[in-house]
Every structure is written in structure tokens, then in C-alpha cells.
Amino acid sequence: MYKIVKKSSLNPTVTYMEIEAPLVARKAEPGQFIILRVDENCERIPLTIADYDRVKGTVSIIFQIVGATTQKLNAKNEGEFIEDFAGPLGKPTELEGLKKVCIVGGGVGCAIALPIAKKLHEMGAEVTSIIGFRTKDLVILEDEFRKCSTNFYIMTDDGSYGTQGNVCAPLNEMFSENKTFDEVITIGPLIMMKFVVMAVKPTGIPCTVSMNPIMIDGTGMCGGCRLTLIRDGERITKFACVDGPDFNGYEIDFDEAMSRSLMYKEFEIKEHEKECNLLKGVN
């Protein structure tokens, strides 16, 4: 059992939790994830590590309330316990030697992008952060990003906050001014990452994407998280849990990944409704 030591709401659908898990905290690095199970009857779900405190022995997660499981998780309060919490899983994001990096985060993906931005900042790298949201109410972690970024852009789709437009707009603008980076790291919805990769591609700057497919065990056993890389015309199957979650964005078959991510959409809608009838009509 793992204790929830802190919980706060970042926006109406995104929650922050700090969990006591000393063994995970000891090893956690940016880019890695954990697998948790809220209670005996819940699914195992992967969540990327948003922060960790090796001294306190805690690991922070930030999650969007999207389905039955995240809803159950959100119903837990400070001082209560989660049944299972295992990790850190996946390979850490490779940051060594990077001096000038652009981090592009979208929606709740910003929670994953933040520890990377922070670590790069601590390493003395110049960090340009672009974070994007649908609308003002969904903005999270703005101050935290500002603190560790040399250049900072915030975008909303509807223009209710920051600059109106998507995250590719400032990227394209910088590229047109011949600004360059050692690497662009992007984390967010698949469709956003696909477009970021397309925007970066003409510059030839390495572009890393963080994939978050459906997983069950997370330890390299089930193969549910498989995705396809296209390298020199050849299709290669990789497993996000042990080979990733970071991949070379130029190689990912995004269309396939997007299709696979919808495998249980109908099931999830049904479960979500079962869990909370109050939410009907909101989504």
C-alpha cells in the first residue's frame, strides 16, 4: 500500500498527487513512468513521473481524469492509500550533453515535460518551453515552466490565454528566424506530436517524442504497448515499456499509434458513465 501524502487540483480535470514510494523515488529519472493500481479490482495504468523527492521518498504524478480508473484515483484523498505502485519503468530521457533544447508540451503532457525542462535547466542548458492547451481553464504548471525556461511561450487553441494558436506556431516562427536547437523534445497528444515532428523535420534537428500507449504490465511481458518505427523503409516493432517511452520522432508511425490508442474507446466511454452518472453531459 502506498500513501498519498499530498493532493491538489491543477484544473477541473487534472490532479496532482504525491505518493510515498521510497524505492521508486530513489531511482526515478525524468521520462520514466510508474504503473499503478488504485484498488484490488482496478486496471493497471501507466503514468509518467512528474517529479520525485529522493529525500522524502515520494514520487509525484499528474493525471487527467479520463476513464473509470483515473476517476477512482481522483476519489482518493490525502492520507489514503493506493494498492499498487511500481517503477520506475522505461528508459530515462537522454539529456546528457544537451546545451540548447526546445521542450514542446501539450495538455497534460506538460506534466511529463516539466521534469525534463527542470533537469535540463539544472544542468545549465538553455531551455525554450512551448506549452499549449485547449483553453484557459485547462492551463497547468505555467509558473513552474517559467522558472526553468529561458524562453517561454504559452498557447491556447481558442486564444483565451497566452497567444492564440497551436504549439507549432512559435516553433515555425523560430525556425524562420534560423534559430536552432540541439534537440526538440515533445510530449502531448499524438496528433500534436505528429505535427511538431513535421514542423521540426525540415530543420534536421533531432526530435524526441514520448509515447504513452495502452499498457498492462509495463515490464515487457504483454506486448500491448507495441508501436512501429519506420527506419530506412523497414517497419520495426518496438515496445514502449522497455524500449521507450522516448523514441526518435522521425521514425514513429503516428497514424498507427493513433488508431491503436482508440482500441477501447467505446468500452472506456461506457465504463466512465458507469462510474459517474454526474459527468454525463459534461463530456
Binding site: 524505492l23 521508486v24 531511482k27 493500481r37 479490482n41 482496478c42 486496471e43 493497471r44 473509470a68 480508473t69 494498492e83 499498487d84 505502485f85 511500481a86 517503477g87 520506475p88 519503468l89 498492462i216 504490465d217 515490464t219 515487457g220 511481458m221 504483454c222 506486448g223 500491448g224 507495441r226 508501436l227 512501429t228 516493432t237 515496445f239 522497455v242 498507427e256 488508431s259 491503436r260 482508440l262 482500441m263 477501447y264 474507446k265 467505446e266 468500452f267 472506456e268 465504463e271
Partner: protein, 470 residues
């Protein structure tokens, strides 16, 4: 002297009706009654030089325990089995006896062999006293990685020898493949739990949610004071065929399909883990895992389940009893066929059609058996222009696994072979001092009993290693 029962055939195993059982997850085989067990035991002619024992990877003293059944001394029979096997209720259910103990039984020459597996299960299920002798604590600590059959066996043997044993499990529950892989109808979870609980009573400590190679490394286990480590981390990543369409929605690895159903209980109405149910299902492969996946799909409500296997019935590697059960339950076998592609539904006029990207058919090519390969098995070769398409909604790929890289990648000095399996000596010692390994992590996908055999061998080697050092 005893009157042997010379009836040529085994006492039949009482089973759930094939039609009824195709719709539930309760155990298929119900177990012998006392009368059947004693009658079957009397078929054993107590050979002077019992071949059956040699056929058993953990060398259970088979004639001796059968003799106790003849006297209706079930606790006595249990004590004999428990001398060498820590998991009799499991072995009695899932061992491929027909290629091991029973293959060597003299009664099998003129008729059927003694039903050793069924008798073992009878003893395990009916014994009242199940205690084992435990030596005094010797103060030495051993870590076991993984709580599948190899790890449980190794832990059981070491605790009996007086060691302090801690088992690290990556998942939220113990049992490894026994709980995520083998379905309820073949091995009830309750049985696994009882065997694990027995080990807990004996003093084995289990730690969940620790992934060795990630949460802790092997080197850290030594720093923590363990003097030896046994790696029984099991089979790893599922293999795929490398044919077009394997990433469409509705294509599963058997590991994923079975894990969703077994470990995550997707077969229950109240489960929150989704799984595709119903429709037409194709399972690719011919091993036990393929049979388990096919029969699970049937129980989840599939209209039709077809097994596609590239060799013939004779070469099917699955346990014979499970193949027979599958046939009885109405699973169709398309033998001498090999899939070449999987197609999905696409609505040209509506890119947002929710059915887009879901499997609609599998195309296979007919095969014929050619020259024997290096293992003596006749190699299947495709028959030109014999492709045919079958309409399906779900495809489950059960063609084996490749070892998990997590431990290898984080343990210096631990060598693996070119397929990724950990290299070990006959005693189970790896190339790293104090580290032993066994089961699928070494061999790639194999059987429960061979993993148990490896766990046993390694426990002995670990005992010798630590005794010598001390």
C-alpha cells in the same frame, strides 16, 4: 502380494460437459474420487526399476506415493511428493505427463500408462496434513527474482534448507505465469494461492511491485546482504510474425490476451480491464499458450475459434489432454497453414468510422511438410498460390516469446546467448558469481515443470555455493 489392476486403460477423468464448460471459467477436469484413485493406483505394478521417476524433471518418487494411495494414506502420499516437489497441486494439473513420467511407464507399452498426473492432483487436493520438514535457520539470505514456477520451487527448497528467502515480484500478486498465463479453467487461482500461502507459512517473504533491473538491481541485492540471487524472471516480450497488419486493432499477443483475462480478470462482468469478446477469433500457434488463448476466447463468448498452426496434428507441441479438450469444446484446427497477412476494415467514405482499423480477416497459405530440420521435426514449406482468406475479428498470436531485457541490461557480468536467454551451467550458475537462473528466462518459453526442475537444481547449487563459502 498385492493384486494389481490389469485394466488396460486409465480411469477416466471426470470432466465438466464440453458444451457447458465452453461458457464458464470453472475448472474443466474435476478430479478423481477416492474409488477412482485407488483403482487407478492399483494399476501401478511397482516396477523394481521405476522408469517414471527418471521421466520426472524433479524426480518425484512416483511408485512410493502411488503405493500410499493404494493404502488410502493420502497424507503419507503427500509427504513423499513434497520431498521433491513444492507445488504438487499445480504439477498434477499442468505437467505434460505424456512426454515425461507417463511416457516411461511400463503399463503404457500394452495400453495406457498409469495416470500419474491425475493421481498426483488427487493427493494434493485431498491431503489433510501438508507440512514439510524445515531445517534450523542457518542465517544466510537468498533473494529470488520472480514468483513463477521456477522462483517458487527454488524458494521452497531453500527455505526448507534453513535459508532466509525473499522473493521479489514485479506484479501485484504472486504466481507469475501460473496467474497471468494459465487460465482459471485449467489451473484455478485458488490452487496457486494455496501453494504460495504454504510457502509464506514456511517463512518465505514475498515483496510485490519490485522490478529487478529497474526498482532494484542485482548488484543492489548483494549490497543489501543477500549472498546469492536466483533469477526466475520468466519469458519476456511476445514474438510477432512480422507480417503486414499485426498492429491493427484486434490483434493481440497471447500474453496480452491472457493477462487481460486472467491477471486482470477481464472475464468477469465487473472487471474494469477491457478485452475484445465475441465474434470470430483466430489463434496462431500450436503450444499450450495457443490452446489456453483459444479456449479463453471461446469462454469469453466467441462464435467461432480457429487455431492456425503451420505443422500437422502430430507436431502440435501442446499437452495432449488440452488439445483433446479444445477439440471437444468445438475449437477448429486449421493445420498446415501459415498466416501471411492480416487485413482491417476501412471505410473510404468516412475516416471517422469507429470500425476503421479493426481486424476483418486473416490470410494464410497452405503448407506441406518437407525435409526434417536440425531438431528432426519436418520443416513446413509453403504450397505456392494456396493463400486463402478467413473472416475474423480478433487475432491472437501465440508463437513464443523472447527473454526480457531488463535484468541483462542492468547487470554487469551476466552473459546471455544470442536469443537473449541467460547462459547457465548444468547447475544453474550464470556467468556472474552468486547469481543463478532458471526457467523461461534461460530457455525461452517452456513448461512449468521444466522451470520447476531448474529452480530445484539451482536451489541445490546455491546451497552448495553458500555452504562452501561459509
Amino acid at each position: 502380494m498385492a493384486n494389481f489392476n490389469m485394466q488396460p486403460n486409465k480411469n477416466e477423468m471426470p470432466m465438466q460437459d464440453p458444451i457447458a464448460r465452453g461458457k464458464n471459467f470453472s475448472e474443466v477436469a474435476l478430479g478423481y474420487t477416492e474409488e477412482q484413485a485407488i483403482n487407478e493406483a492399483n494399476r501401478c505394478i511397482n516396477c523394481k526399476n521405476p522408469q517414471c521417476v527418471q521421466g520426472c524433471p524433479v524426480a518425484v518418487n512416483i511408485p512410493a506415493f502411488i503405493n500410499e494411495i493404494k493404502n488410502n494414506n493420502i497424507d503419507g502420499a503427500y509427504a513423499i511428493i513434497a520431498n521433491t516437489s513444492n507445488l504438487p497441486a499445480i504439477c498434477g494439473r499442468v505437467c505434460p505427463q505424456e512426454t515425461q513420467c507417463e511416457a516411461k511407464c511400463l503399463r503404457g507399452i500394452k495400453g495406457e500408462p498409469v495416470a500419474i498426473g491425475r493421481l498426483e492432483r488427487y493427493v494434493a487436493d485431498n491431503a489433510k496434513v501438508k507440512s514439510s520438514e524445515i531445517k534450523e535457520k542457518n542465517g544466510h539470505k537468498v533473494a529470488v527474482v520472480g514468483s513463477g514456477p521456477a522462483g517458487l520451487t527454488c524458494a521452497g527448497d531453500l527455505i526448507k534448507l534453513g535459508y532466509d528467502v525473499t522473493v521479489y515480484e514485479a506484479f501485484h500478486t504472486e504466481g507469475g505465469v501460473l496467474v497471468y498465463g494459465i487460465p482459471e479453467f485449467r489451473l484455478p487461482k485458488k490452487i496457486v494461492k494455496e501453494e504460495v500461502d504454504k510457502l509464506k507459512e514456511m517463512g518465505v517473504e514475498f515483496v510485490h511491485n519490485v522490478i529487478i533491473g529497474k526498482t532494484l538491481t542485482i548488484d543492489e541485492l548483494f549490497e543489501m546482504g543477500f549472498e546469492a540471487v536466483f533469477v526466475g524472471s520468466g519469458a519476456g516480450l511476445p514474438n510477432f510474425m512480422g507480417i503486414p497488419g499485426e498492429s491493427y486493432k484486434g490483434v493481440y499477443s497471447a500474453n496480452e490476451f491472457l493477462t487481460r483475462s486472467n491477471l486482470m480478470k477481464a472475464y468477469r462482468e465487473d472487471a474494469t480491464t477491457p478485452i475484445m469478446k465475441g465474434g470470430k477469433v483466430a489463434v496462431v500457434g500450436g503450444g499450450n499458450v495457443a490452446m489456453d488463448a483459444a479456449r479463453t476466447a471461446l469462454r469469453l463468448g466467441a462464435e467461432k475459434v480457429t487455431i492456425i498452426y503451420r505443422r500437422s496434428m502430430e507436431e502440435l507441441p501442446a499437452r495432449k489432454e488440452e488439445v483433446e479438450n479444445a477439440i471437444e469444446e468445438g475449437i477448429e484446427f486449421k493445420l498446415l497453414c501459415n498466416p501471411v497477412k492480416i487485413d482491417a476494415y476501412f471505410n473510404e467514405n468516412d475516416k471517422r468510422d469507429p470500425k476503421n482499423g479493426f481486424v476483418k480477416s486473416i490470410t494464410a497459405i497452405k503448407m506441406e511438410l518437407g525435409e526434417p530440420d536440425e531438431n528432426g521435426r519436418r520443416r513446413p514449406v509453403p504450397v505456392p498460390n494456396s493463400e486463402f482468406e478467413t473472416e475474423v475479428n480478433t487475432v491472437i498470436i501465440a508463437i513464443g516469446t523472447s527473454p526480457n531485457p531488463l535484468i541483462k541490461d542492468t547487470t554487469s557480468g551476466l552473459d546471455v546467448n544470442r536469443r537473449g536467454g541467460i547462459i547457465v551451467t548444468e547447475e544453474g550458475a550464470t556467468t556472474k558469481e552468486g547469481v543463478y537462473a532458471g526457467g523461461d528466462a534461460v530457455t525461452g518459453a517452456s513448461t512449468v515443470i521444466s522451470a520447476m526442475g531448474a529452480g530445484k537444481t539451482a536451489a541445490k547449487a546455491i546451497d552448495e555455493y553458500i555452504s562452501k563459502k561459509a
